[in-house]
């Protein structure tokens, strides 16, 4: 764990105890069993708003506390441990980040306070196909005299079923596959011609598929200059990746803790299985991978807070290394628990499923290894 300020320690402790008392994995399971389209329990979400977590990234002038990314990461990690589902990440982290980095003053004044008080859920809509590839954006904006007509679709939009607004990446100019020519629009969920449909994923969260059938928006809904959103989109996505990294750390360290506990209690052949050296060494290797992953995950958030010029590298490192750890860890969670790990009644499967979805979001390990190498010029 990084060296924390007193305030950060307080918030982390609050998140730890709240999550285990009020949003334990059993709540997530209950929500999953009921089967909702929005993919979270409303009281859980209200409590988070209540505690002020929605304002962690937002400057005080817009009603937030401006505590920064590492602080938000601490909360995401604790929520990750319990698989607590909510729009906190999509709206108060990614949505707020996008508004802060790309929004006009009017947009910020209008949306940030409502993100903080929970009346709006603002989420980013970027991917369109099976792969995370912003340059492959095809959703088209036809522009004429201050009006823009959007046509196309988006997939795997986080909290898409509960969102009040979408931050939509669109193509203003150029061809699919080109990094240039992208714009970012704020589109209300009830806009004419916009429809959404729930996607039932293995992690039982509230993703949506969006369809834009000639949705009309105006210049006022444009974030930044038309056709030039590519760079700021990268910055937004990097912050999102670091946030996912933080949640993945939580999922992974909980999986490690469950596994370690099992190693200390499960008996086979007359001894607890953790006394078998092959398993002891495996635990040691997992611990090492976890500690290395933690360093990468926390460093990314710290680099963002420090506004360093190697945010991109740090965020790709985080997504890749935490992703690798979580991949191995979630598989070992099942393997070491044996038969019981295969049953739906036990929680291991929930962690495994969430792990794979988190790996996929905003570029998997392969994507970020490639990106890291490109950033290093090879």
């Amino acid at each position: 764990m990084a060296a924390l300020t007193e305030e950060q320690t307080l918030i982390k402790d609050q998140a730890t105890s709240w999550a285990s008392a009020e949003a334990p994995v059993s709540k997530f399971r209950a929500m999953r069993n009921e089967g909702t389209d929005i993919g979270f329990a409303k009281p859980t979400w209200s409590a988070m708003v209540e505690m002020g977590w929605t304002g962690i990234l937002v400057p005080e002038e817009y009603g937030g506390s401006d505590l920064g990314y590492l602080t938000f990461g601490l909360v995401l990690e604790e929520l990750g441990k319990q698989l607590a589902a909510s729009p906190l990440f999509a709206s108060a982290y990614v949505g707020a980040t996008a508004l802060l980095l790309a929004g006009t003053e009017a947009q910020k004044s209008s949306h940030l306070p409502r993100i903080v008080d929970g009346t709006e859920i603002v989420t980013l809509a970027v991917d369109e196909g099976p792969r995370h590839a912003p340059a492959r954006t095809a959703l088209e904006a036809k522009s004429e005299g201050g009006k823009h007509v959007l046509t196309g679709s988006k997939t795997l939009v986080l909290e898409g079923m509960s969102a009040t607004h979408f931050l939509v990446v669109v193509r203003s100019t150029g061809k699919v596959g080109e990094a240039q020519g992208l714009s970012l629009f704020i589109v209300p969920a009830d806009a004419m011609g916009l429809s959404r449909r729930a996607m039932k994923t293995m992690d039982s969260r509230g993703y949506a598929e969006l369809n834009f059938d000639g949705v009309e928006v105006s210049d006022a809904d444009l974030m930044g200059p038309a056709g030039q959103a590519g760079e700021v989109l990268d910055e937004i996505l990097d912050r999102a990746r670091a946030g996912i990294g933080a949640e993945m750390l939580g999922v992974g360290s909980q999986a490690f803790a469950m596994t370690l506990d099992y190693l200390k209690t499960r008996k086979q052949f007359g001894a607890v299985i953790g006394s078998f050296q092959a398993l002891g060494h495996r635990a040691a290797e997992l611990f090492a991978a976890m500690e290395l992953a933690r360093s990468c995950g926390e460093a990314a958030l710290q680099e963002i807070d420090a506004q360093s010029n190697s945010v991109a590298k740090a965020c790709s490192l985080s997504k890749a290394k935490v992703g690798d750890f979580l991949h191995t860890m979630s598989n070992q969670l099942i393997q070491i628990h044996g038969g019981i790990g295969m049953t739906d009644e036990f929680d291991a499967g929930l962690y495994l499923k969430r792990a794979r979805v988190l790996a996929t979001l905003y570029g998997n390990q392969s994507y970020h290894r490639d990106r890291y190498a490109r950033l290093l010029g090879f």
Binding site: T155, F269, Q335, G338, T343, R356
Partner: protein
């Protein structure tokens, strides 16, 4: 051995028979994931099963008197090949649960004549489904520490205890169970193997839902359940040797029919190209994924070549090649890695649970991936396999903790 020319003659005989007996309505029937239970099948299906059973070709190497055809291994292979060639299938093994693959061969070896006559024909005809009560909640990899008790009550044993991972227990008519008959003996010395009907008051089953959503296994509870003494297989308190043999049959069936690859299955690299696309030189657009795909394909080929090599080596040899010990882990690694790569290449489409945004192929890949995690756990976990290799094959000393 049968001379090659005899085999040719036999082959035409089988081919003709299958052609004229296999109902065309059953063509393309998927005998896959869910093995059919007697109740759900059609009249044609039943007729085909009965026709095969009458010839003894469901279990062709078994003796004729017990419902088999008394055929040699090469002849059995011909039957398998001709059935496959005609687009037909042999429904009898899956319809008997563990009957044809594990219980039958073990009864043939350990059973009395009475037991053979009582149990084998029902298996050979595909009419009696068997499950096996082996693992218990506290006896997984360490099977010998099982605690289900069987008490001698004159003409029967009375069973109390719980079994887990009893595959198909809820639809089986019979169960083969390992039980503790001498609680005072050392772990492996007080165990017996009994057979008992599932349809009795003292037996209850509960489906276990798995992480994949499927429920192929049960917990099975014995509460004063009865097993006739005449259904004790092997000697009293010598059940451990019966079980070892049973597990050998299991391993054999696992590794000799690896992963039941469907002939029409798209190769992994083609699937990858479809999802990921290619660069100008025709290579996969994601070189990182490409590397891992080619490694998996190489591992799959290496596994296949090893199976062939063991088969070739086995010709005329009594001892099974030491290399056979690695097959379970090798197959598991290939299959599990392939499942991971499949999800990875599908990306956003590889995380679906249900609904029309995901293709059938995508949803199945997710469920298969989850189900495949069991491969390294059941039937001797990856760790147990390594223990076996290190101790039995390489001759390294037993670790002192092992009981």
């Amino acid at each position: 051995m049968t001379a090659a020319s005899d085999l040719d003659g036999f082959r035409s005989e089988v081919s003709e028979w299958v052609q004229s007996n296999f109902p065309s309505a059953l063509k393309g029937f998927d005998l896959g994931a869910d093995s059919p239970s007697d109740k759900g099948v059609s009249g044609e299906f039943r007729a085909w099963r009965q026709a095969l059973a009458d010839k003894g070709w469901g279990t062709p190497t078994w003796p004729k008197e017990y419902g088999g055809a008394g055929r040699s291994d090469p002849e059995a292979k011909v039957i398998r090949q001709e059935i496959a060639k005609a687009g037909a299938f042999n429904p009898i093994p899956p319809m008997t649960g563990m009957g044809v693959t594990m219980v039958g061969p073990t009864i043939l070896e350990y059973g009395t004549d009475e037991q053979k006559a009582k149990h084998l024909p029902g298996i050979a005809s595909g009419e009696v489904r068997w499950c096996l009560g082996l693992s218990e909640p506290n006896a997984g990899s360490d099977l010998a520490s099982l605690s289900t008790k069987a008490v001698d009550e004159g003409d029967a044993f009375i069973l109390n205890g719980q079994k887990i991972w009893t595959s198909g227990a809820h639809i089986s008519q019979w169960c083969g169970a390992v039980v503790r008959t001498d609680p005072k003996a050392k772990k492996r010395d007080g165990i017996s193997f009994v057979m008992l009907p599932m349809d009795q008051k003292g037996v209850e089953t509960r489906l276990i839902k798995l992480i994949s959503g499927a429920s192929p296994f049960c917990e099975t509870f014995f509460n004063e359940a009865r097993a006739d003494k005449s259904d004790l297989l092997g000697d009293l308190n010598d059940g451990w040797s019966v079980v070892k043999r049973l597990l050998q049959h299991e391993r054999q069936s696992q590794t000799s029919a690896p992963a039941a690859v469907k002939i029409d299955q798209e190769p992994l690299q083609e699937q990858a190209k479809r999802y990921v696309g290619t660069l100008e030189d025709g290579t996969l657009a994601d070189p990182d994924l490409r590397l891992r795909v080619v490694e998996n394909l190489m591992d799959a080929e290496a596994h296949k070549l090893t199976v062939s090599r063991i088969t070739a080596e086995a010709k005329g040899q009594v001892k099974v090649s030491a290399a056979a010990s690695i097959l379970k882990n090798s197959m598991t690694r290939v299959a599990q890695t392939k499942a991971e790569l499949t999800l990875e290449m599908m990306g956003n489409q590889g995380i679906g649970w249900e609904g029309e945004q995901f293709s059938e192929e995508e949803l199945r890949s997710v469920r298969d991936w989850l189900m495949g995690k069991a491969m390294s756990i059941y039937g001797g976990s990856a760790e147990i396999q390594n223990n076996i290799i290190s101790k039995n094959i390489l001759g390294l000393p037993e670790t002192t903790q092992q009981g």
